[in-house]
Symmetry: C2
Subunit: 508 residues, 2 copies
């Protein structure tokens, strides 16, 4: 889908009347929007949330619902982890870099225990038990999971503690999370208008945003926002033209979205001179079973390992796509990525946790597997030999996988083609793909209160952003839970700041 | 240097008088600016070129002067190469991707022979002889050189032909090139104003750019442009805040610029809602001697090879920095990159072409060299063994280096630390560095005539851009000569288009 609708701002002087009015207008009713709406309404503002879909939810409702929290939450303490905000910040600075936002990370980590309580107070349940192995989504209802904190290099940078907090749900937690947040926003008094696609910002003479133009059932309507507009319109993974301009490596992969992440909010703000950051960054949900990868090796098209396989699987995915050219965005490079595992490793992962994955090839010897996979002659044989030497000495000198997961591989060996694709059984749709499911991390540059900044670093009056319409905490790295995490955390800030803003008298 | 000057546009209505006037105002007097000024003046426009420095030249004058030209130039034909625009386009599409601009590449390749003649007509000399080995800069005055066209994967995508055209000069050709282009612009009637730093665009009610505000000797002055403003202000490698927002991998390395690539033109246009593209992309001039690399191996911190060593060395540099984390932008990864070569390979490169590079370590055996370099035990030994096997069979199964450069390495072996740094003797300054010299490729989105486009894809009235202020041909890849190439080629287009634009009557 290529979207190039005109996002040129409209002059307030040219608007004759407004169809709707609010103090705070929130555009987009996902996790960030609901959090902003709740806080604005709780502060006494008249709040209207609009969404282009027929109801609330957005991409948040389709997600696993993990939220990155720490610094000593009750769930962490119940599981025996005495975490600190400092360790959390040190981990995030490394994992979300390069160029993660130090001020936002510090604020986020210092406020994390309070934010956990805020979520609990909104009715989000977290079971105080730990899932203790690499995974995308635990097969249990455990409320706490590792997201790479106990893997190299992070073990050398901060005291490890698991910080992935999962709402207790029968299936993916995102739907439950959104039910809680939507209910909270509505109870606080926020009103909602659906099937409403915001197309343009309305701007007063003094460059303050005072409302929006939207389309609803084919008709244009106008909405006045007396205190502020909060953009929580999501990222731009559904806009191929924007991907080509900013993150072409993400083109052609499965898009993790509700189909509406067209970057409209980012573009509307850019048309006003707003700054963007890290537009090339993306999360890469790679189609591998983390438990199998941890028990074996992940190799590129040259049969080389390239990362410790026990880390957060999104890091392996980012490395595969951006560094090993898994998607073939760069000319020439072959694009295969393989998980190599032996029978013990395969059987060690219970069948339901394998999500139906079967070996693409099985070789009685490394030589045979090498031939079956088409890897360069001798390459996989060498890599297996070296891996087994390192495993035997219990020290992965090359990539520092934890000794817990190091064990010499014995033939027969299986190779699983990551590009053959695998997704959780709970996800609908085609289970074969490119090997990657992606969304964008780049977006608007905001300050700690969610104000959108222009290319001078100055606030644009009346304009706020949160969620993936903003870049948030992120540099070029990503850890699961930081998107719902910074969306809800800084969404709250944006809603509160917008509610506090004096009513302007710039619009009519 | 962090630059956050206010680039907010000024309203034409607020400008009482203009200190200077021109039909076409060119901002920046490098290769793109001079080319634009020449064509605008030749078309009859009154042209003023302003530059913040005390004279013309910019980063172009400090460069090697290579220009990427093909499709059957007289120099190519004299050297025996029957090139075509189609082969040239196929190569550039692959080499400058992902997401290189297909329309600009097609136009550039179709017009390349004419552009060669235009340069010759401006007095730029090219000697019709070929330097036939990988290098940054030939040690001779040969006018033609390979820039990776004869290396994998390009050999499989297009008929190879050398397309690096070098002005014949005693030293780097950039200075000579700029002398020719400046002389041409002046002879055509363009006037120049130096020590003049443009800070803001002046914009009329109808959003057309009608002039600029500048600082000169501490005083503010205004310049009226009746037909158009052409931004040729360069990239943003000198602006660390912009690098952090867009291309943090480039932070901390030697900046290839005249010290004035602060992104001011890009930011001034963004403040008007201009679109940018590929802001994360960068050229990486890696501190290795291409002749030594081609005769040996380049390995990462795990002792692994990662690219065919006989390709354009900038490709190895990009891979080292963006994929192998040579600069250490990502947490944890070690950052070493080594060139491994034997005595035969070392001596095979004449001493003057080694630019004073000495082995960092010499080992009597691969084992000893591995210990000296601190590479993981067994890693380099394995890689040398495999390389020698592939060389013996004359087929680099892993990275497809040409058989011409494949030869088993014999001990003793030398390791050269790329981070120890090396630069051409002709370049001034510190010869030690981070191993990389970089500049940015991202910039304003322009159309084929150099009009700056806004985030809707519409032209911004009266505003043009060329050179590294624009993204030009480039996706995320780079080939030497495409920067001076698209700067001069599309600089001409921008100058001609600005001169043709009807005089506006929007400014006073």
């Amino acid at each position: 889908m290529t979207v190039r609708n005109s996002v040129r701002p409209r002059a307030a002087a040219a608007i004759d009347n407004y169809d709707f009015e609010a103090d705070v207008l929130v555009v987009g009713y996902g996790a960030a929007g609901a959090s902003a709406a709740f806080e604005a309404a709780r502060a006494g503002a008249r709040v209207l949330v609009v969404d282009r879909a027929g109801g609330a939810g957005g991409a948040s409702a389709l997600s696993g619902g993990e939220i990155y929290l720490g610094g000593g939450t009750p769930v962490q303490r119940a599981c025996g982890f005495a975490d600190t905000a400092e360790d959390m910040a040190a981990f995030l600075t490394a994992a979300l870099g390069p160029s993660a936002d130090p001020a936002k990370i510090a604020e986020y980590c210092a406020g994390s225990v309070e934010h956990f309580q805020w979520l609990v107070d909104r009715g989000v349940p977290f079971k105080p038990s730990l899932w203790d192995a690499p995974t995308w989504v635990p097969p249990t209802d455990d409320g706490l999971m590792w997201l790479g904190e106990n893997s190299w290099p992070f073990t050398e940078l901060a005291t490890p503690a698991p910080r992935g907090h999962r709402p207790t749900a029968n299936d993916f937690g995102g739907k439950l999370l959104m039910e809680c947040l939507t209910e909270a926003a509505e109870s606080a008094g926020a009103e909602a208008l659906f099937d409403t696609y915001v197309t343009n910002l309305i701007v007063a003479e003094n460059n303050t945003v005072v409302g929006v133009v939207a389309r609803r059932y084919g008709k244009e309507l106008t909405i006045r926002a007396h205190r502020g507009v909060v953009l929580t319109t999501g990222g731009f993974v559904d806009n191929d033209a924007m991907l080509a301009d900013h993150a072409p490596q993400l083109l052609g992969h499965t898009k993790v979205s509700a189909g509406t992440d067209d970057g409209s909010g980012i573009r509307m703000a850019q048309a006003l001179g707003a700054a963007v950051r890290h537009m090339g960054a993306g999360q890469v949900g790679m189609s591998l079973i983390p438990g199998l990868a941890a028990r074996g090796m992940v190799v590129n098209a040259r049969g080389q390992r390239f990362m410790n396989e026990d880390t957060y699987p999104g890091r392996i995915g980012q490395a595969a796509l951006y560094r090993q050219n898994m998607g073939g965005a760069w000319a020439g490079d072959d694009t295969a990525v393989w998980v190599i595992v032996d029978e013990t490793g395969f059987e060690d992962v219970p069948e339901p946790q394998r999500w139906g994955v079967q070996p693409t090839h099985v070789g009685e010897t490394p030589e045979e597997l090498e031939q079956l996979t088409g890897l360069p002659t001798g390459s996989l044989v060498d890599t297996v030999l070296r891996y087994n030497e390192l495993a035997a000495r219990g020290d992965d000198l090359d990539f520092h996988k934890s000794p817990r997961w190091l064990r010499p591989l014995t033939s027969p060996l299986a190779a699983i083609d990551v590009k053959a694709g695998v997704r959780p059984p709970s996800e609908a749709g085609d289970r074969r793909g490119t090997g990657a499911s992606v969304f964008t991390l780049g977006g608007l540059h905001t300050d700690l209160d969610g104000h959108v900044l222009d290319v001078n670093g100055d606030r644009i009056g009346g304009l706020f952003a949160a969620g993936r319409a903003a870049n948030g905490l992120h540099g070029f790295g990503y850890i699961s839970g930081t998107s719902l995490g910074d969306g809800t955390f800084f969404g709250r800030r944006a809603g509160a700041a917008a509610a506090e803003k004096p009513r302007d008298d710039q619009g009519r």
